[in-house]
Amino acid sequence: MVTPIQDLGAASLRFVEELGRLARFSGNIGSAMLRPPLRFGRFVDELFKLGVLSLIIICLCGIAVGAVIGLQGYNTLIRFGAANSLGAVVGLSLIRELGPVLTALLVTGRAGSATTAEIGTMVVTEQLDGLRMMSVDPVHYVVTPKALAMIAVMPMLSTLFTLFGIFGGYVIGVRIMGLDAGTYMTSLEDAVDFENDVAGSLLKALVFGILVGLIATYRGYTTAPTSAGVAAATTSTVVIASVCILVFDYFITALWGV
């Protein structure tokens, strides 16, 4: 009976220790952001890798999700004679919930895992130690531009996902199901409030960007220096970040009503 309790205690201690390390790591990133030289070139490189290279998957998934919501929404609303509200259903679903959440999950799978694998490989091949031996702080040179780029791209990609989703819903509702285009757009405009819905959506995306950026860089930076270590770190980034996104989504929604 004692052993399971001991195991639970040990696991709890490890969890708290890990949280402490993550907090310290976040502090190092915060201090690196304020320290010259400004790594603007590295930041732009990361924006390209994390943002531009994610565009196709974000746009395609946005259209697909919007189309599914449009189809399901139309089939449901038509039963209650409320098919004219399809624009509002598609828009609010995407802006308030699906846009930021699905974008964050997609970015985690595509860019978050790549970030962890890249930093982890640098650990294995001693590139980070090489930087330290050249008196260059790896957190300043490698980690901070990646984390900041992740934070910056998430709201942009989420907005793009949402816009393409609304377009997907429009194609299904208007072009295929025969709804009036003006009705679809008016319903959307009337239902969406900028402060509550759009700003809230951007807030969620920003929080998810911080979460994914921190988790992906932290897991990469603390990778065990073996190939199995890189694989484990990459997997754990996807798992931990995905769970955190969904849990934080609930709390943001519950606390701020977004």
């Binding site: 091949t125 590139q127 130690d129 050249m134």
Partner: protein, 278 residues
């Protein structure tokens, strides 16, 4: 090709020193109260079998890891008392050749060499270019400047990494297994380069290796890490040692007991101070 190593003397000032350094990874003890010193301007070699702590010693000198206890002196600074930020000042005196090269894999060879210059010095682009070309030429990589590390052979990676390690003209060059994974010709080329760098730039070179012939040719001083202790001396002293552990390491094909019986007892190398657990 490889010049005769300078001879370490009693009057050498310790440039690098371990004082009662203990190190462990979890339950595994690597060193216990290890003390030794290396003279300036010479080539010193840390020899030992796999897992004996050779690379750990090098990483301790570079401040990449911290010992459990003891003091590590690098050019007068006790680096065990320094923070990571303060270590940057000490590392400006160090260059390190990593076992796998540790070249930044998204940069060309040229940019890898220019990187520390751009980071640490306020040199103009043309001065940086001149320094990079000269250093690449010194290691025989003039034509590889625009290649990525993934396009280089093992020997070329070592030479490019060596060029990056010396481009800031460090006082001390640390080399982790510079001959591993290389064919004999490439290994001899690296050996010659290290000797030339030592003599031409008067850089203290510390080589970690388990390649006995190469290291014995170049070394002025050798630290041999053994499972139950450590021994230091000149290559000649180690070769003449009657210590069966030393003899069996240097001549694995010979029976150490037979060597002892044959009377090779002269010129016993100095034993390294160690704790009671050796």
């Amino acid at each position: 090709m490889t010049s005769n190593p300078k001879t370490a003397t009693q009057t050498d000032t310790a440039h690098l020193a371990f004082r009662d350094v203990s190190m462990a990874f979890g339950e595994r003890q690597v060193f216990d109260s290890l003390s030794f010193s290396f003279p300036p301007g010479r080539i010193s070699v840390i020899l030992g079998g796999s897992g004996s702590g050779k690379s750990t010693a090098l990483r301790l000198i570079g401040g990449l890891i911290q010992p459990l206890s003891g003091h590590i002196i690098v050019d007068g600074d006790d680096i065990t008392c320094l923070s990571e930020r303060q270590m940057y000042r000490v590392r400006a005196k160090l260059g390190m050749l990593f076992q796998g090269g540790a070249l930044l894999d998204w940069m060309s060879v040229y940019d890898n060499l220019a990187f520390p210059l751009r980071e640490r010095r306020q040199l103009r682009a043309d001065e940086i270019a001149e320094r990079v070309r000269a250093t690449l030429s010194a290691v025989g990589l003039e034509d590889a400047d625009d290649l990525l590390p993934s396009q280089l052979s093992g020997g070329m990676i070592k030479r490019a990494a060596l060029a990056r390690a010396i481009i800031m003209r460090p006082l001390i060059l640390l080399c982790d297994e510079p001959f591993s994974g290389l064919d004999p010709v490439s290994a001899r080329r690296i050996e010659a380069l290290l000797s030339e760098i030592n003599q031409r730039f008067d850089i203290t070179v510390v080589v970690v290796s388990h390649d006995i012939p190469s290291t014995m040719r170049m070394a002025s001083k050798v630290l041999l890490l053994l499972p139950d202790g450590a021994v230091e001396g000149t290559p000649a002293e180690l070769h003449a040692s009657s210590d069966p552990r030393v003899a069996s390491f240097l001549n694995p094909d010979l029976d150490a007991a037979a060597l002892h019986e044959a009377g090779r007892v002269e010129a016993l190398p100095s034993r390294v101070q160690t704790g009671t657990t050796w």
